[in-house]
């Protein structure tokens, strides 16, 4: 996960994000808005995986804290995504503690196993992956796997950064992400995703 390659979403925006954060730290609120727009989608996706429908509220709380503590932050664009994800995660865990609700329900899984339907091919299954369905898939994973996958795929963190957000060793997070993705591949009905399909360079990470 770490060495293999940065998640591509991460690379595309990091320079811009880093510059925006730096300007925001100097007091530029327009730059802060730019940073918000760059980070919020990933953050929200991650939080949806953690707290489901409450993601918007939790994200809002997280942004209040991010806005307040921005002066404390040190780092570049990639660092900012990790830092903000850590804050969001803490807010999400607080939220879950308050609600005493597990981030996923075991009932989900059974439903979902029936869901895939008559996708004739792997490609079709992937192309038609709706947000709701993808979310259900991810939330059916054990929590550590779901978080590792989300931080990598949605927030765009590399291995070490994801490990820092989760407070775990990079190896453990890498393993969790791998297992999670493998399980997802199975659930989508894409047995061959791991081994057999030759891929173009542009597609693989």
């Amino acid at each position: 996960m770490g060495q293999g390659g940065e998640p591509r979403r991460a690379q595309a925006y990091d320079g811009e994000l880093g510059a925006a954060v730096a300007r925001a730290q100097e007091g530029d609120e327009a730059a802060f808005a730019v940073a918000y727009r760059l980070v919020q989608p990933g953050l929200l996706g991650y939080l949806r995986g953690l707290v489901g429908d409450d993601a918007e509220d939790v994200a809002s709380d997280a942004w209040l804290e991010i806005a307040r503590d921005l002066g404390r932050f040190r780092g570049d664009g990639a660092g900012f995504r990790g830092w903000s994800a850590t804050i969001a995660r803490h807010r999400a865990l607080d939220h879950l503690r308050r609600q005493k609700v597990r981030p996923r329900s075991s009932a989900l899984e059974q439903d979902m196993l029936d869901l895939p339907g008559p996708h004739s091919t792997h490609d079709q299954a992937l192309e038609s992956l709706s947000t709701e369905y993808a979310l259900d898939l991810v939330r059916a994973l054990p929590r550590d796997q779901a978080e590792a996958v989300l931080l990598r795929v949605v927030v765009g963190l590399d291995g070490p950064a994801a490990a820092r957000v989760l407070g775990k060793r990079p190896g453990a997070v890498r393993t969790a992400a791998y297992r999670g993705l493998k399980r997802l591949a199975q659930l989508v009905g894409a047995e061959s995703v791991t081994d057999e399909r030759p891929r173009t360079l542009g597609e693989s990470t």
């Binding site: 806005a67 002066g71 990598r152 891929r199």
Partner: protein
Amino acid sequence: MTGEHGTADGNGHGMGDERPYGETSPAPEPSYGNAAFPAKGAQGEAVFLPRGAHGDAAFEPKVSYDHGRLEAVLGAALLGAKEDGEAERRAVDAFRVARDTGAHRARTRRRDDWRPRPQRRWGRSWKATLSVLLASLTLGGVAYAAIGAGGHGPAKGAARDEGVRPSVTTSAPAPSPTAPRSSAPAPADRPATAKDTLAHCRAYEKLRGRGRALNSTAYRRLVAAAGGEDNVSAYCAALTELATDAADVKPGKRKGQATAGSNADKNKSKKH
């Protein structure tokens, strides 16, 4: 790493490992077998098994795995793309308030520092500290050994009790008969003796007037070599001078000799 139970199916394919069943071991990196692993059956089954029963997840390729496409699709599907101007406005408001109230001048905590290299820097500084520590221990050891062999050791030992003195006397016995009698030139021939005698000289200067220590064998020898207690200072001075001279001269001499020797060789070879 593998909290899950490996299925018998999975374990049978474990690489060149001597252990037939990998499930008892923590299975560190059972990696490369995966590509060749006929995964169809296991994975097909796994879909219908309750979670936790599919041990094939224990196989992880060490190299980059190919979930790129899945990741891309998942990422696109899960991205919270919903535009919410309200939420953004609240965040920016909070930013403005924090900025205007000076909250942004708060100091950086460890968890706020996401600069790329802090860990590595820590690692390096630890290594640096460790190597400095090791170096100081080594140098300290050398210095201590030098003290033990040189002037201060015997001085202390002599002052306290005779028990420590063997360190000097053991090295002394052989050279001492020759060194004192043959007086000045002898030390130059035998560096070890010269050093000992020099050391005795240094110790002598320190201990002069303190009595008991100067009754010990080594110093009595020194006195004998100098030819009387009054002459010890002069003897030692001559010896020290000689030693420094020798140290200065020797390298040059050797070079000269070496070149002379090689020239001679060349001449010989020419003649032949």
